[in-house]
């Protein structure tokens, strides 16, 4: 029996009186590679923030390896959705990845050799050593996304949380990007929020659908009922690259 990496019980989140997440129950096992899909505004980012400890749920409990998320900060590597990146920000790739080594207790001490080694290993895992001294603003969307993953990996987390990682990545580089994640999946638990159904079908082990409520049957299949519930309309989706079928036969 594997360890439980994330356990969510009865979690609801309200913004003012608006219900964003309703009665979410989810168990993610160690080394699962879980994809979460759902419509815009369905609460995907909110759910990731709840797991990352950025947001306290209105109701319910979240446990990351048995601890509340804000006590499990050393276990979590968070890769935020790229909003409008500040392209002029004066920092090199190395500066940014090193910030992944920060923690409450290490605020004042200079970065140690161990910190530098972990940051360098993270850069190598994302094949970014060559860009180490480049300003962050000079990178392409895909490279910058890999820097953000490297930054999360530098913390040597046990769980990687990614919010729409391919949104700003050049379509042609998409596959390569998922290959990077695939490399990591034997080392850690990965939860990824995405719109990219074809990539999900190929790479992830389990898929959950989220639209305020979570539909999840601990497998890679999305039943027609789940799909109907989540998107509220019959959709025929064809996941390219069959035989990686996501939808059941219909």
């Amino acid at each position: 029996m594997s360890n439980i990496a994330v356990e969510i019980e009865g979690v609801s989140v309200y913004f003012d009186s608006k219900c964003v997440l309703e009665d979410i129950n989810l168990k993610v096992l160690e080394n699962d590679f879980l994809g979460i899909i759902g419509p815009n505004g369905g609460g995907k980012t909110t759910l990731l923030k709840v797991i990352a400890g950025l947001l306290k749920p209105t109701k319910g409990s979240v446990r990351v390896y048995g601890k509340p998320p804000d006590k499990a900060e050393k276990l979590i590597g968070y890769v935020p959705q790229m909003g409008q990146p500040d392209l002029a920000f004066p920092a090199t790739v190395w500066d940014v990845v090193l910030t992944g080594r920060l923690s409450r207790g290490k605020l004042i001490k200079p970065y140690s050799e161990a910190d530098k080694k972990a940051a360098l290993d993270a850069l190598k895992a994302m094949e970014l050593e060559g860009l180490k001294d480049e300003p962050i603003g000079k990178l392409s969307g895909g490279q910058r996304q890999r820097v953000f993953i490297a930054r999360a990996l530098a913390a040597e987390p046990k769980i990687l949380l990614l919010d729409e990682p391919t949104l700003s990545v050049d379509r042609r580089l998409d596959t390569k990007f998922w290959e990077y994640l695939n490399e990591l999946k034997n080392r850690m638990t990965i939860i990824v929020v995405t719109h990219d159904i074809s990539a999900l079908s190929k790479y992830v082990d389990k898929i959950a659908c989220l639209n305020r409520r979570l539909y999840y049957n601990e497998s890679k299949q999305i039943t027609r009922e789940m799909w109907m519930e989540v998107y509220q309309c019959p959709v025929d989706i064809i996941a390219h690259g069959l035989p990686h079928r996501v939808l059941e036969e219909h």
């Binding site: 900060e73 004066p90 910030t99 605020l107 930054r151």
Partner: protein, 266 residues
């Protein structure tokens, strides 16, 4: 030119230029990259309330201004979320409120009080030795805090949310940063005035940003540029017999726009 240096007020102005540029160069970079220019300007205007309070209570206005604007900085940093109001709206209100309070206190103070104009534009040629001492102490505080918290400030400036997931105390760091901004503004307010403070916080950092790729380089560049503008502006104001503060601001802005135009073309 060199014979000017025999006057104490000229030497003091040059020392003030060095001490002020160091503070503006370092803190200005944080103000620019965190996009808190408006907040900083709000703090500097609100400080006028502290200046007025100081005169009214018979204290050295610099101390009451430090206390007042530090309080304002922390209030704005923490309250806008809790009040549910937009941050820039709160800043606008506190800006006006601080100045109104300052004007009331000054009106209520018997005897001699400085006029609003000297507070807005200051005069670097009237810096006293005791002002220099206060500036030196504040510089030492600023530099030490920035050296200690450099990594944390970088992390929250670049990506506050990510820093929070690491357990970094982001609110504490942000409030500390705002207090440093308040200290910088106060340290320079009587010397150069609110308007020159804002110019020296933003223009050198903005120019330096174009040519540098790391925060520390940007700070060094901003400090050097700030010093250059201040000294050159002082000399120009002496030659042309124009007010020093305004000359420094116009010189710095002219260089900024020239560089932007030239740089965009190439």
């Amino acid at each position: 030119m060199l014979e000017l240096l025999q006057y104490e007020f000229v030497r003091n102005a040059i020392y003030a230029a060095f001490l002020g540029s160091l503070a503006c160069g370092i803190i200005g970079v944080y103000v620019v990259v965190n996009r808190i220019v408006f907040l900083s300007d709000g703090i500097s205007h609100a400080a006028f309330g502290g200046v007025g309070l100081g005169y009214f209570l018979g204290l050295n206005p610099i101390y009451s201004a430090i206390a007042f604007s530090t309080a304002v900085a922390v209030c704005v940093g923490t309250s806008s979320k809790k009040l549910g109001a937009r941050e820039d709206t709160v800043i606008g209100m506190i800006w006006a409120l601080g100045m109104a309070v300052g004007i009331l206190f000054i009106k209520l103070t018997p005897g001699y009080v400085p006029d609003l104009f000297s507070y807005l534009f200051g005069n670097i040629l009237t810096v006293s030795s005791s002002d220099l001492l206060v500036m030196l102490i504040l510089d030492i505080i600023l530099v030490s805090v920035v050296m200690l918290l450099f990594k944390g400030f970088l992390a929250i400036s670049f990506d506050r949310e990510f820093a929070q997931t690491l357990g970094v105390p982001v609110n504490l760091l942000y409030n500390t940063l705002l207090i440093l901004v308040a200290l910088t503004v106060i340290m320079l307010i009587r010397v150069v005035g609110v308007i020159l403070v804002m110019a020296l916080l933003t223009i050198p950092a903005a120019i330096s940003e174009i040519f540098t790729k790391r925060l520390i380089q940007m700070m060094a560049g901003a400090t050097a540029l700030s010093l250059l503008f201040t000294l050159l502006g002082l000399w120009l104001s002496y030659v042309t017999n124009l007010p020093s503060g305004a000359t420094i601001v116009i010189l710095a802005a002219a260089v900024f726009f020239s560089i932007i135009i030239l740089y965009r073309r190439s």
